[in-house]
């Protein structure tokens, strides 16, 4: 995202806060493919991801007035809404056991982490993140990516990576701390 793109999206959010429905339509046109991709990756079912995207945009519309106070980039703010909705949907307690869903989902989880980060991540912050991710142990990198991008829980990660739960939790925790230290050194946090 360039500063100009960020400013344009922030302006659309400001207009949404004033109940300008055309601004929401523009916002949807510009961001829905990205956000649907994010949700689909986590939900791994089109119908669920569609419901999540719909709920997310209704939420963006309702809470656009809070955006300015969030002090974050527009895509960061909207992606957080979509990821939270996706994870809440995925982890929601269900009436039945939901065993079938879990099986189907587990089968659909890609064995590898998504492609080389340096290629998919554009922009300055993203480059710093990619560099710092490269500096992690491969196990730390893989578990953080699978958790953040593919929405795997601690338990799912342990099953997927065939490692004890405690080990996976430690990888994630240590990996995140190293990542934070590295990014703080690169001076990109809060940017």
């Amino acid at each position: 995202m360039t500063p100009e793109q960020n400013a344009a999206l922030a302006a659309l959010l400001a207009r949404c806060a004033l109940r300008d429905q055309r601004a929401l339509a523009d916002l949807y046109r510009q961001t829905s493919s990205k956000l649907f991709g994010v949700s689909l990756r986590i939900c791994r079912r089109e119908d669920w991801a569609e419901d999540v995207l719909q709920e997310s945009f209704v939420n963006i519309w309702k809470h656009a007035g809070d955006y300015a106070a969030a002090k974050s980039a527009p895509m960061t703010w909207m992606t957080a809404i979509v990821r939270n909705r996706s994870l809440d949907w995925l982890r929601r307690p269900r009436e039945q056991d939901g065993g079938e869903d879990f099986e189907a989902r587990a089968a659909a989880i890609p064995a590898d982490e998504p492609g080389p980060l340096a290629q998919t991540l554009a922009g300055e912050d993203a480059r710093a993140l990619a560099t710092c991710m490269e500096g992690l142990d491969s196990k730390q990198r893989q578990s953080i990516t699978l958790a953040f991008v593919s929405g795997l829980s601690h338990a799912e990660l342990a099953a997927q990576l065939r490692e004890p739960l405690g080990t996976v939790k430690t990888w994630i925790r240590r990996g995140l701390l190293r990542l934070k230290a590295c990014l703080e050194q690169a001076g990109t946090t809060g940017a």
Binding site: L40, W61, A68, T79, L87, D88, I144, T145, S153
Partner: protein, 238 residues
């Protein structure tokens, strides 16, 4: 519950990376509502990790998703009646046709006489009373940097609110949208009003401004409650 900085940071990190169970996530979301520092920690982790989301390929959603969103938001406006009727009732529509001749002349004279202010102003609104007599000029610089987040208010006539009342300045993004408060204005002939970040984003494209008479200290509801005393459209000058 008071969290240590370490515990807060760990909870925020795990919340953002998303590995916790539904119950733990709900608990953290609940805690964050009353804990500014936890919200800030979550925002920091979001800012750090969100570029990772680009690893998920873009997929165009089916058209039915937008249709469903549109159906759910259609006709939703704040309050019990559409915002437009508030302003129709207040009579601002009279000014919709544009600057009156008197206003335009005054504006030209005023801009010529005014010493070049620093920073340079980008827009101006001349606010007139119901007899089209100009009473106040509001000017603001381009909103390109944080130190420009203000509007300058110049009173052209001696005017003061009745005892126990305040004048409140509003901006109107479009003739039909909900007014946004810029705050209460005082009695001085020259004043500067600071803008919030949200107001600063909005102000470059606004259509008009108005001043209403409100209870002392400003409208208790966040929307105009008293009569419009001055109003006028905005003009770009820079």
């Amino acid at each position: 519950m008071k969290l240590s900085a370490d515990a807060r940071n760990r909870l925020a990190a795990e919340y953002v990376v998303g590995t916790q169970t539904h119950r733990v996530r709900a608990r953290i979301a609940w805690l964050a509502r009353g804990d500014v520092a936890l919200r800030a920690a979550i925002a920091t982790w979001n800012a750090m990790l969100t570029p990772l989301a680009a690893a998920a390929p873009e997929v165009t959603p089916p058209a039915r998703v937008w249709r469903a969103i549109e159906a759910r938001i259609a006709g939703r406006v704040f309050g019990s009646r559409p915002a437009v009727s508030v302003w129709e009732r207040l009579g601002l529509w009279r000014f919709a046709a544009g600057l009156s001749a008197a206003c335009a002349v005054l504006l030209a004279v005023y801009i010529q006489q005014m010493p070049a202010p620093s920073p340079a102003m980008s827009s101006v609104a001349v606010l007139s009373d119901d007899k089209q007599q100009p009473a106040l000029v509001i000017m603001w610089p381009p909103q390109t940097k944080p130190q420009n987040r203000h509007v300058m208010v110049r009173a052209l006539t001696q005017t003061a609110p009745p005892e126990g009342k305040s004048y409140e300045l509003w901006m109107l993004p479009t003739p039909t949208s909900k007014p946004v408060s810029l705050g209460v204005i005082g009695r001085d002939a020259r004043q500067v009003i600071e803008l919030t970040a949200a107001a600063s984003i909005m102000i470059p494209g606004i259509w008009g401004m108005a001043i209403t008479v409100e209870p002392a200290g400003g409208s208790p509801t966040g929307q105009p409650t008293g009569p419009v005393i001055y109003s006028g459209p905005c003009v770009k000058i820079g």
